[in-house]
């Protein structure tokens, strides 16, 4: 047995052992606050078991293992439906950024351990009302004076800001420079005076996203991460860290097997639904697509195991799998007759067709909208030109709003 096989075995065994306490069934019917509390206990147990911070160096409280170890564990963890959603942003991007850019290493270690144990939560304050795909169009101001900086402005969408202790933030420090150049990166104490967090409801009822307002929030210069004006590169580095995230060829919706099982008890024109040509075509095509994505994923793992960089085709998963999930979920609701109208808010997207359907558009935006992913593939992989950008090279304060 290789080291990786052993790791996978150990991961599987541990996840199975804690499933009765933290798994989906154990959490059925809990309020979000109760669920979060269970989540924090899960994070603590995971830390004690040695599965937290898998790629984080040992001296910072992590396991110091490879990205492959991380992907293997996280794939199993997602299959086991553990309560990790609240900590997804928190333990992914902010921690490596602190390690790379923060000088006070003891403090960094303390924050990392607390975040890994679920005691503290971090959020990512990037997007704004006028800056989503076009992140560099952001307007939140960071003004330097005296000891440090003053932050004013508004962030939007910030996932789980309502539970967060800290955040990483990108703000405009010099509006006279072109938009990518005048940005600076900070960490923020979310409990500091002047920070206001307002949760709002998403289309599926989830209360996950927030508006975050900054009114004269004082930030020390020691909270700056990276050079003044270097914020965009830090943000890009942050996004690169997540290259090796666990992916799911079902787009985090139900698998094809569930579609087949659902249809076993249904009929179309008096015949079994599974004998209907339209249904069969959908089953076959979606299965072929997802098998392809899964083969890409497995091949990437093998390449990583051999110590090489996987190819760029890994970037296809979210784009193709979520579209497949969206349409398949629509059809699954159509085919159930009146039962297709039923809706339980907060149901699990991998097990419930209505939850999968209503949550799909969210996934087509968050983490890069489909159109931006297509642009990235076209530009970075195929070498096609950038879009026409009238604001390129123009000082930010001269771009028409």
């Amino acid at each position: 047995m290789t080291d990786l096989d052993a790791w996978q075995e150990r991961s599987r065994a541990w996840l199975a052992s804690v499933a009765p306490e933290f798994g989906r069934e154990a959490r059925a019917g809990l309020s979000q606050d109760e669920d979060l509390a269970v989540g924090r206990r899960y994070m603590a147990a995971k830390y004690d078991a040695g599965f937290s911070g898998i790629t984080i160096p040992v001296e910072f409280g992590g396991q110091g293992l490879s990205p492959l170890h991380k992907v293997l564990f996280e794939t199993l963890e997602a299959q086991a439906a553990m309560p990790i959603g609240y900590f997804g942003v928190s333990t992914a991007m902010p921690l490596p950024i602190l390690i790379r850019y923060c000088d006070d290493k003891d403090w960094v270690r303390e924050r990392i351990v607390a975040a890994l144990k679920g005691e503290e939560i971090w959020c990512q304050l990037f997007s704004e009302p006028a800056a989503g795909s076009d992140l560099a169009g952001l307007r939140t101001k960071a003004e330097q004076g005296g000891e440090g900086w003053t932050i004013n402005g508004q962030k939007l969408w910030t996932t789980f800001a309502q539970y967060s202790d800290y955040g990483i933030l990108i703000a405009r420090s010099d509006p006279a420079l072109p938009k990518h150049k005048g940005l600076t990166f900070f960490w923020i104490d979310m409990k500091a005076p002047g920070v206001t967090v307002r949760p709002f409801r998403l289309a599926n009822g989830d209360i996950q996203c927030n508006e975050v307002f900054f009114d004269d929030v004082a930030v020390a210069d020691s909270q700056r991460l990276g050079p003044v004006g270097g914020g965009f590169s830090v943000a890009m580095a942050t996004l690169m860290i997540e290259r090796y995230a666990a992916s799911d060829a079902d787009g985090f919706g139900p698998p094809i097997g569930a579609f087949v099982e659902l249809l076993r008890s249904h009929t179309i024109n008096g015949r079994p639904a599974l004998r209907d040509g339209r249904v069969r075509s959908v089953i076959a095509r979606n299965h072929a697509l997802r098998q392809g994505l899964d083969s890409i994923r497995r091949r990437a793992m093998l390449i990583m195991e051999a110590g090489q960089e996987p190819g760029p085709e890994g970037a296809l998963n979210k784009l193709f799998s979520v579209r497949s999930r969206q349409k398949l979920s629509e059809l699954a609701l159509d085919l159930q007759g009146s039962a297709g109208l039923a809706y339980t808010e907060g149901a699990y997207t991998k097990a419930d067709w209505a939850a999968s359907w209503i949550g799909a558009p969210t996934m087509r935006q968050a983490g890069g909208a489909d159109e931006m992913l297509l642009n990235t593939i076209a530009e970075k992989i195929l070498g096609l030109p950038q879009d026409h950008r009238p604001d390129k090279g123009v000082p930010f304060n001269q771009i028409p709003a």
Binding site: R280, I283, L289, S295, L374, E379, L382, P385, D387
Partner: protein
């Protein structure tokens, strides 16, 4: 499955040789003729030993398998391969190996390996790609009936034919050269892709040797159809990739409204979508080739075939569109891929056949 160094080197060498020896003018000329193939392509295939790749060593082959043949097929697809013989030759090798008849193996396999014998595989009839009860009949050592649209039909020396018999379905081998003009008629189909050598084959008592009968014949037929489909899927993926890259290059070079057309998102995004379809098809092909002989091979083959059909169809359709008017000229030659995408989509069972087959595998319910 990851290709090893040898396999990578083989793909590169194949690509190099085919790029150097493929002549578009020659391929275009074939379109206006029936019964002709690109001799230079076939000579290269024989010289490079591609015909011997998947033949067991004891019969003069290299003892490799679908993975290596698939790599060659992918490269052949990239240049619109000049003859269909590699895929169907492999089909014949599979059919013979299923029979276990030492004399037959010793007679045919070495000659197939050397490329001295060209094969056709004739399963399809009017009512489907693989009829369970073929209208062609096998009686007293002879075949009666017609197989339509047989690829390689005009050039093949032997044919593997599915037929009905008192013992159920049989897979039979016909030595086409030995049959008299009364016993065998081949009628050329004037097709949009004449290099595939399509023919209707009418057997009027042509002598045939049974390789398998009954359930074993049905199983062997399905397995060799799936193996040929996996090779064809590689060929389609190679063709799709070639079209994607041609369209990408044209989009970088052609300017309109003061910029390369590749800067317009409707063009750019189409290319990105093509890239996705090509990579998904490629991943399915590699996986299917590696699953040969395993319980899920049929399922994997269907996935490869379906995604490769979609990739090649979409890539040709969109690449032709991105080329503007120059996409539809004779000499520009994009129609070579357009035609080939269609002929390969029809040969070896169309998308509907594979959708149903895959749906049956996944649900246990027949169509």
């Amino acid at each position: 499955m990851l290709y090893d160094e040898g396999q990578h080197a083989m793909a590169e060498e194949t690509r190099r040789v085919l790029a150097a020896r493929t002549d578009r003018t020659r391929l275009l000329e074939l379109l206006d003729r029936t019964g002709a193939w690109d001799e230079a392509f076939w000579a290269t295939a024989v010289e490079q030993g591609w015909t011997a790749l998947a033949v067991p060593e004891e019969f003069g082959g290299l003892g490799l398998g679908l993975i290596e043949l698939g790599l060659v097929a992918q490269e052949a697809g990239r240049v619109v391969s000049g003859a269909p013989f590699l895929t169907y030759g492999h089909g014949a090798v599979c059919a013979l190996l299923a029979s276990d008849d030492e004399d037959l193996l010793a007679t045919w396999l070495p000659r197939l390996a050397k490329g001295e014998v060209k094969a056709a595989v004739a399963f399809a009839e009017d009512d489907g790609a693989m009829p369970a009860a073929p209208s062609v009949e096998y009686r007293d050592g002879r075949l009666h009936g017609t197989k339509g649209g047989v690829a390689c039909g005009l050039a093949a020396d032997i044919a593997i034919v599915s037929a009905s018999s008192p013992d159920g379905m049989v897979l039979a081998l016909v030595d086409l050269g030995q049959a008299s003009g009364d016993e065998l008629q081949r009628r050329a189909i004037g097709s949009f892709d004449n290099g595939r050598l399509f023919a209707d084959m009418t057997f009027s008592g042509a002598p045939a040797t049974v390789l398998e009968a009954g359930d074993a014949a049905e199983e062997a037929a399905l397995d060799l159809q799936a193996q040929m489909a996996v090779l064809t899927a590689h060929e389609q993926t190679g063709g799709a990739e070639a079209m994607m890259l041609a369209a990408r290059d044209y989009a970088l070079e052609r300017k309109a409204f003061g910029q390369p057309i590749g800067a317009f998102q409707s063009v750019k995004h189409r290319l990105a979508e093509m890239y996705g379809l090509v990579e998904i098809a490629r991943a399915n092909c590699i996986h299917a080739a590696a699953r040969q002989g395993e319980g899920d091979f049929l399922e994997a083959a269907a996935c490869a075939r379906l995604s490769a059909i979609e990739a090649y169809d979409t890539a040709t359709r969109d690449a032709v569109q991105i080329h503007g008017g120059s996409g539809v000229t004779w000499d520009g030659g994009l129609h070579l891929h357009m035609r080939r995408a269609r002929s390969l989509a029809i040969e070896l069972g169309n998308a509907l056949f594979w959708e149903d087959l895959l749906a049956t595998e996944l649900t246990g319910e027949p169509a």
